[in-house]
Amino acid sequence: MGASVGIGALIMGVTLLSVFAIATTVISNQAEVALEVTDPDVVDKPELSLSNLVNPGTVINVEFEPGTDYFPGALVFSDVCDVIPTGSFTVTNEVFKFRTFDEVADGVDPIGNYNDSEWLGTHPTEGDYIAFNDLTAEAPGSEELWIVWYSVNPSLNPDPGFGTSTDIAPTPAGSDPTRTIEVNINEGDDAQQIRDNTLSQLQLNSPPIQITWTSFVTDQVTGDYQNSGPVSSWVPGNSPLALVSLDAGGVIDSVSLDPPNNGGSGCSSQPEVDPCASCGGDGTDGFLAVMEWDYAFDITNDGGTPVKLSEMFSTINGGATEVLSSTPAFTVEYLFPGETINVVKDANSEDSLTRVAISSHGMNIAVET
């Protein structure tokens, strides 16, 4: 009997001890949870401040309107940058084609010529001339007038006796006698021969004309200016020689940012861009600097706990929110209390900085410029 009572008591004792253990565990867990709830394992809202917003710009490109009558040269940027950009622009080369003498039907030969004995009086080519400007330097006023004149050569042996050759270069106003080119044409020359004579004389001149001459069709010569820029118009002189086509020079065709400064840096605003003073032009260039902007600002940890930099996020001008970054990259992982870090956002944005927002774990601050 005593043993039975003992066993019963043992059972009850063990049971009560188990219940007590369970209850203790539950109470312990509750206490632990209570502590966790009292001091939750979450990231506290940091205290950060933003200051010293700056927005330096750089010119990345220059847009333009073609304009006319420009000489290539440098771009002039207004002084709004710490390092003023440097650049230049180029213009088109002028290309023209002119036609030499048309063959004249004289009623005798199947193909007429220019000094046919059947012609009476002054031969049609005698003393005829054309003029053109040679662009010898890439600047306004550097054009030189050249005269190409045609002479019926009186020294032909035997002298055909075609009327009276002038053998005198015409002297239109402004011409320089040293810049005349004589082209001799003879009886029976056809259009191609005259063209070739003209071409060879043009290529033999001294000082050299800065035009590349090539033959075109039977009676045409092409002149391609080696220098770019505007060239004054073809001067027909007193000849029937005619300008066939003209691709104008002096039209802006490219702009570049060049050394030493290229796009410059530290621009506080969009610089004005003009052609150089000696670059001529009709004023319709419409140069426009295309900017990219970088951002810089300071962030200070005003709180009492370190803030992980990778858990800060920036929003520029209301755009997409991004993980805070800087150029060059951060070398530290945390921003400790009292510390200030300079953030350089090499954003290369088309827009200037108007608003910066920083957020981290429920802290949202923004500063507008």
Binding site: M1, S4, V5, I7, G8, I11, M12, V14, T15, S18, V19, I22, A23, T25, V26, N29, Q30, E32, V33, E36, V37, P40, D41, V42, V43, K45, K308, S310, E311, F313, T315, N317, G318, G319, A320, T321, E322, V323, R355, A357, S359, S360, H361, G362, N364, A366
Partner: protein, 171 residues
Amino acid sequence: MQWRRKGDFMADGGATNMILLITALLICGAASAILLQSWTETASAVGTNQEQIALNSKTKVTFSGDLAKTTCDSVDNRITIYLQNSGSSILDETEFGAFIDGISSSIVGVPTFLNGATVWSSGVVANITLQSGENLDCDGTEEKRVTAIVSTVSSNGVFGTDSITEVVKLG
């Protein structure tokens, strides 16, 4: 008269006592079993509840981005919000709820994470686009009250939750 011996009386009393004792032991054992079971169940329930409370205490979501210039699409009536996991548990981006001015809002597409993260762990910001049931002007003056509700991934069958409400300016 038949006399009974003393031992005979003792044998009768012993059997009765044995029956009583065995019965008592059985009742005691059953009571113990019931007590233990009920306490175990109670402890389990309390434990689950405690885990829930503990997980909730580790779950926190905060708004990130520029609250005064919240990205807004007036064509599709959508707004883009950024939510940061400020707790210590991993959030489940598929278990997400939102309200715009108290009206339930659906999520457009799948939330994406900034900084190349693949899970919504502590500190990570999720980019979430919400579909508004109302027309949005997105003119820079429109203010909306946005509520976000998040849930953690399962931990022993328990989910932690948190919610946050902020007024944001669209545009």
